[in-house]
Structures are given as C-alpha cells and as structure tokens.
C-alpha cells in the first residue's frame, strides 16, 4: 500500500538516475580537449580515431566512474554518520574520518608501495581509528552533537599535522602527497577503479542493510531501545559501514570534504528523512554532484586542472556555514 507521496519519491529517484546516466555520457566530451558526441559514439562503436579512443577509454571513463562511485560513497557515509551521531553536520570530512583514511593511505604509499592493492583496506583502518577517537572524545553520557564537531576539528588537525610531517620527510615524493591532501580524481585510471569498485559495491549493498537501523536511531535512543533495538550495536555496525565507505573512497581519491553534508541535506529536502528514500537518493545525487564538480574542475581553468577537493570546498564551505547558522529543517 503506497500512497501518492511515496510514489512521487520513487519517481524522483528514477528520474535522478536517468539524469545521472545522461550526465555521464555528456561529461565524457568535456575536458582540456573537447570531444563531440558523434566522436564519442564512434569510439564506443569501435571506429573512433586513436587519440579520442585513448582519451575516452583510458582517461575520462575511469575518471567518471570514480567520481560517480566516490560521490555516492561519501554521500551515504555522511547520511549514515548523521544518523549515528544524531547530528546533521556530521560527515566524513568534518569528523576526521577522511583524514584518518588519507594518512593511512599516504603511509602505505610512501613506505609500502608494493602493497598498493591493499590501499582501500589500509584506508579503512585509518578511518576507523579516526572515527573511534572522535567517538571517545565526544562521549559524555551519549554522543553530544557539538562535541562531535569539536573533536572532529581536533582529530583533523592531528592527522593533518602527521600528514605534513610525512610530506616534509619525503619531500622527493611530495607531489603525490599534495594531490592526496587536496583530493583529486585526475590521473586515476583503471587500476584505481579496479581496486576501488569491488569494495565500493560491497559498501553500497551494506548501506542498504542500515536503512531500518538508521531510521530507528533517528527516533532517539530511548524509543529505539523500547522498540527492541540494541542501540549500541546498531551504532557500531552503521558507523562501520559509513567509515568503510569513506575509507575506501579516500584511498581512491584522497580527501574530498563537504559532499557528505550537502548531498544528504539536499536529499532530505527532496525526499524527506526516511532512510528508505534517503539512501538511494543520496547515492544518485552524490554521484551527480561529484561528477559535476570534477567536470567543472577540469574545465574551469583549462588546460590546468583543479583538484576536485578544492572545488568541493569552494562550493561546500559556504553551504556548511549556512547550515550551521540555520540548523532548522522543514522537509
């Protein structure tokens, strides 16, 4: 028995998915060299010229895939963290989860490059450490929203410090590290896609299992417990999924902030706060936003490419400040 409003939400989600599809095709042509739609079709039919083939298949396509799936992962991660921490401003960037993941990844790249394949798992461990620290620091008879933000700032500063230290100690390889800190999808190819995508799909499926739990947590601990939920266990499980998604994303592209706040927030305005709709919507819109941001990043100052993390910060920071002042929802 679905009422009209629920049907409308499902339609909105379907249309966004179609829009994402169109966007993917549309952005293949955009970059330091423009490629026309006809030439794109030629490439896919196997009769394009060699340069276009290599630009599309080796550079743009993996990059677009990464943008879409990283955007989706970070957005879901944000949506889940917001439910666990009962705080609409929580996201992997603010809470330090991303910087934990990135520090672990940088350590791995600098000192154990032979294990490059394990990068996503290593990032996950680093992200878990950061998340655990934030939980411990913000715990005072339950998690206090404002303390989450404050501990996040502290953890972020700590990990950023450690990252700088690593950068100074390895000044010969600093270029790669810098790219990490800013978050960039440029120069990533099928190798990164193949390391990242399997984990990402697992993470996205796990996120679907968090829907009911996230909805119950939104009612507050007392009501959730009353309804038979083991609140602490649910918190830990949902956090793990969120941290996993953020960790593997960081391993693929470095730190990209704000998307985990912006996307779930906009989705709440569109489909409401029921995670049954919020998770699918955030997945799709997350893909859309990061893909747009990355396309903009490689277009706006071309032929120079901006890191997409910088792009997101430029859009996201004002939005975050706006939310911080407003802190009121009406969906």
């Amino acid at each position: 028995m679905k009422n009209k409003k629920e049907k409308r939400k499902i339609w909105i989600i379907c249309f966004s998915l179609i829009f994402l599809g169109i966007l993917i095709v549309g952005t293949i042509g955009v970059g330091s060299i423009d490629i026309s739609v006809g030439e794109i079709i030629d490439t896919f039919l196997g009769k394009g010229d060699e340069i276009n083939d290599s630009i599309i298949m080796d550079m743009r396509l993996p990059r677009i895939l990464l943008a879409v799936f990283v955007g989706a992962s970070l957005s879901i991660s944000g949506a889940l963290l917001q439910s666990v921490m009962r705080n609409p401003l929580a996201d992997p960037g603010i809470t330090g989860v991303s910087s934990g993941g990135s520090l672990a990844a940088i350590l791995m790249m600098l000192y154990f490059p032979q294990f490059y394949r394990l990068l996503p798992l290593m990032s996950f461990l680093g992200a878990m450490l950061a998340c655990g620290l934030v939980f411990i620091l913000s715990w005072d008879n339950g998690i206090k929203p404002i303390r989450v933000i404050l501990s996040g700032v502290a953890i972020n500063a700590m990990f950023a410090g450690a990252t700088s230290l690593l950068a100074i100690m390895n000044s010969d390889k600093i270029q790669g590290v810098l790219l990490w800190i800013n978050g960039s999808i440029a120069y990533r190819g099928w190798r990164e896609v193949s390391y990242f995508l399997p984990y990402c799909i697992v993470g996205l499926i796990l996120a679907l299992f968090c829907i009911r739990g996230a909805n119950l947590l939104a009612l507050g601990d007392d009501v959730a417990t009353n309804l038979g939920m083991n609140v602490n266990r649910a918190r830990i499980c949902i956090s793990l999924v969120a941290v996993f998604l953020a960790g593997i994303s960081t391993s693929a592209v470095g730190i990209i902030g704000f998307i985990g706040i912006i996307v779930p927030h906009v989705c709440r305005l569109i489909v409401g706060s029921d995670y049954k709709y919020l998770i699918p919507m955030s997945t799709i819109l997350g893909g859309i936003i990061l893909l747009l941001a990355d396309t903009l990043a490689r277009y706006i100052a071309r032929p120079i490419e901006l890191p997409v993390g910088v792009m997101m910060a430029m859009i996201g920071c004002p939005f975050f400040l706006f939310l911080l002042r407003r802190r009121k929802y009406s969906a």
Binding site: L219, G220, V223, T225, N226, G228, A331
Partner: protein, 262 residues
C-alpha cells in the same frame, strides 16, 4: 506479572534510587508520584530497560528482564520517556508504524496484518483524520497521542508512561488518561505511569507509589495512603482532603506551603 526486587538505580555510579521493590499484577494501573528530581523517571526508565540498574532484578512474566532479547521485551512492554523527538517531516502514521518493529525480522516489510494493527492504534488514539500530518505540524497533545499509538502498535501487555499529561491542556490531559483507563479495562493492559497531578493520580490508579529522594515513602491505594502528614512530608504543602464527595473517593485541595522552618 512484573516484579522488581531490591532495585538500585543511578547514573555514572551515583545512586539515585535505592531499595525499590514492586510487584505489579496484571491489569493494574500504578502511578508514581513525588517531587521533581525524586527519581520517578529514573525508576521508570530502569523498569523499561532504557537504563541499566546498578543492582537488583526485574522479572517480567517470571523471566529475568536483562537476559531477555530486546525485541521479546518490546512485544511485552512498551516504555515512553517524557520527551520524544521525531524527524520533523515524519507523518503520524509513519511513527505509529515503527511500533511494529519488534514483531518483524530485519528483512520483513509491513504486512497487511501490520497495517490493520496500525489502523487500530490510530483509531484508538483518535488520530485517524490527521494520520498523514507531519509531526512538526501537530500539537503537543496530538504528538503525545501519536507516541502512545506507536506503543499500542507494539501490542504490549505492559505500558510505561512518563508524565504523559505534562504540558497538555486540561482537555488533552483527561483525554489521555481516559484512553489509558479504557485500554486498561478493555485490553487488561497493565500500566505504570508517572503523574504530577495528585487528583489525577488518585482517580485513575489502583495503587500509587510515593517517591522522595529516591526512596518509596508510601505505596498503596490512593484513598488509603494519601493523607495530610504524608503530603506535608513529601511536598511541604498543606492539603485539604475530601473523601467520598462528587463521586470521587478522594479529592485533594492544596491550601498553602508550610513555612520553611515548620
């Protein structure tokens, strides 16, 4: 059906309620009264397993409460705290439907039978005409009824309510209490609640528990235990007490506060 033995409850190692013993029989309405900060909510939360007691035991139908699975408890007992917050855009019906959670495995959706029970809970609480309204657009009384409807959808045998009438106007207060009474009579629902109004406590309960500084000062039928000395000890208020008038067993009329040194 519910037995509490030698309860000690507190927060962070600080004891708030001690030596709490209580036997509740099926179909009773029991009301906890006492001054602010006397530990009423604390006790109620501990009985409703929202707060782990420091020591002591609770038996629910002869089973040790803390050994029971969360969902099993939730089918037997519903516990509403004083303040509940819902996401603002959630509809009343959605809130009520959460009450079915204990009856569902994690992969199960809402079945036809669930819908019927949700309908019934909404009907009982008089929310039918506004069931699709969002929580942000309804009044305090309606929101209180929505939460009670959620608890009803759990189909519990015991209902725990913390100050269900506070902040409501007198019409809404009576409506909630009459609803509790009706559920108690028709469904043999056992109720333990916290109230502030002594007359309402006396009128609607089989037994009252008088709590002060975390200790039970009196326990029994309201008309038998509520007297001037007790009220003075608990609230430091002088009461006129009428018995068997206007169809009530006992009526309490506050007169004045005793002087501080009295």
């Amino acid at each position: 059906m519910l037995k509490v033995n030698d309860f000690k409850v507190g927060y962070d190692g600080k004891m708030i309620v001690k030596d709490f013993n209580l036997h509740v029989k099926k179909g009773e309405i029991i009301t906890i009264i006492g001054p602010n900060g006397s530990g009423k909510s604390t006790v109620l939360k501990a009985i409703g397993r929202l707060l782990k007691p420091m020591s002591g035991t609770i038996y629910l139908d002869k089973q040790l409460l803390w050994k029971m699975n969360g969902k099993e408890i939730a089918k037997e007992m519903a516990c509403l705290s004083q303040h509940n917050i819902a996401p603002e855009d959630m509809t009343i019906r959605k809130i009520v439907s959460f009450g079915r959670n204990p009856h569902k495995a994690w992969f199960e959706g809402v079945s036809k039978k669930d819908e019927e029970i949700i309908d019934w809970a909404i009907e009982k609480t008089n929310l039918k005409s506004m069931q699709n309204k969002k929580m942000i657009h309804i009044s305090g009384g309606e929101s209180q009824r929505a939460w009670i409807a959620m608890a009803l959808a759990q189909q519990p045998k015991i209902l725990l309510l913390d100050e269900p009438t506070t902040y409501l106007d007198i019409n809404n207060q009576i409506e909630i209490l009459e609803l509790v009474k009706e559920l108690n009579e028709k469904l043999k629902l056992t109720v333990i609640m916290v109230l502030h109004d002594l007359n309402q406590a006396a009128k609607y309960s089989d037994e009252v528990i008088v709590l002060k500084n975390g200790e039970i000062k009196a326990l029994g039928k309201p008309e038998e235990i509520l007297n001037q000395n007790l009220i003075k000890e608990i609230y430091n208020v002088e009461m006129n007490i009428l018995k068997n008038q206007f169809g009530e067993k006992i009526i309490l009329i506050p007169k004045k506060i005793y002087a501080k040194d009295a």
